[in-house]
């Protein structure tokens, strides 16, 4: 049952993104920014928590979950440490994902990246 909800809710987040791409010609970067900020807002309002409880990874894997995590981290840090928590809580909660992305990207660039300018390829995310 959990997998069904993960599939349905996660799929819905992606379908909404596709609607935005097809109908508004929003660039992938704008979609991702919109999703993260929406996640922060929904997390702050307490709306996202029930979706996470229902759909598990279906809510945490889409980028809105990243925003939700930022909000959750800030809430915890502000409650424990006061105002300074608004500066520390967000990155603390997302540190693993961000650092992993950067480190794995660096390794991928070393291993798979082409140093040869003549064979440069364009990849989907950068294309639009």
């Amino acid at each position: 049952m959990e997998y069904l909800w993960a599939f349905l809710i996660g799929g819905t987040f992606c379908a909404i993104g596709q609607v935005l791409i097809d109908l508004t010609a929003m660039t992938p970067a704008k979609i991702l920014v919109t999703y993260v900020v929406s996640g922060v807002v929904l997390g702050a309002l307490g709306v996202y928590e029930p979706i996470v409880e229902l759909a598990g990874a279906g809510a945490t894997v889409p980028l809105t979950g990243f925003g939700y995590n930022l909000a959750k981290g800030v809430r915890k840090a502000v409650t424990e440490d006061g105002l300074i928590g608004s500066l520390t809580g967000g990155l603390e909660a997302c540190a693993g994902g961000i650092t992993a992305a950067v480190i794995f990207a660096l390794i991928a660039a070393i291993v798979f990246g082409r140093g040869d300018k003549t064979r440069r390829t364009r990849r989907s995310v950068l294309r639009s």
Partner: protein, 147 residues
């Protein structure tokens, strides 16, 4: 290839009528849903090992980022993305792809201003506005708790 705003607009318009919504949206739904199910399976695996919920969540993100980096490295993620659109963009694997792709792409421009700088070409804005929104929330929350 560098595009100005208006050139991009023209290209987008030219491409837009060809987009088949009845195809792209279900594909995004299907692939995005499946990626989330993979995430759920990884999450359940970590939880079954007795790892706390928070740490299992972080490990799941890291695992998905790793998988995405490998698939992107071999050029497979972009092949899936061609058909899945937002289905591969919106999950955290898409975020990872947006970090790994430019890192590989801009190796031609060196490790500092190529890989090092361009690694954040899409992740940068995401982090900037995500952090800004969360910091703003923190200030509002603090004011509410104090008041």
């Amino acid at each position: 290839m560098k595009l100005t705003e208006s050139e991009y607009g023209k290209l987008a318009k030219r491409r837009a009528p060809g987009t088949k919504l009845y195809k792209t949206i279900p594909m995004a739904f299907l692939v995005g849903g499946l990626i989330c199910c993979v995430g759920q399976a990884i999450l359940d695996l970590y939880k079954s090992l007795g790892i706390t919920a928070d740490m299992a969540g972080t490990l799941t993100s890291v695992s998905l980022v790793f998988l995405s980096a490998v698939l992107t490295g071999f050029g497979l993620y972009d092949k899936i993305a061609k058909h899945a659109g937002a289905g591969t963009l919106v999950p955290i694997t898409g975020f990872a792809n947006a970090v790994v792709s430019p890192a590989m792409e801009f190796k031609t421009e060196g490790y500092v201003l190529g890989v090092g700088a361009k690694i954040f070409i899409i992740a940068g804005p995401v982090i900037v506005y995500g952090l800004a929104a969360s910091a703003l929330y923190g200030i509002i929350l603090f004011a509410m708790q104090a008041g």
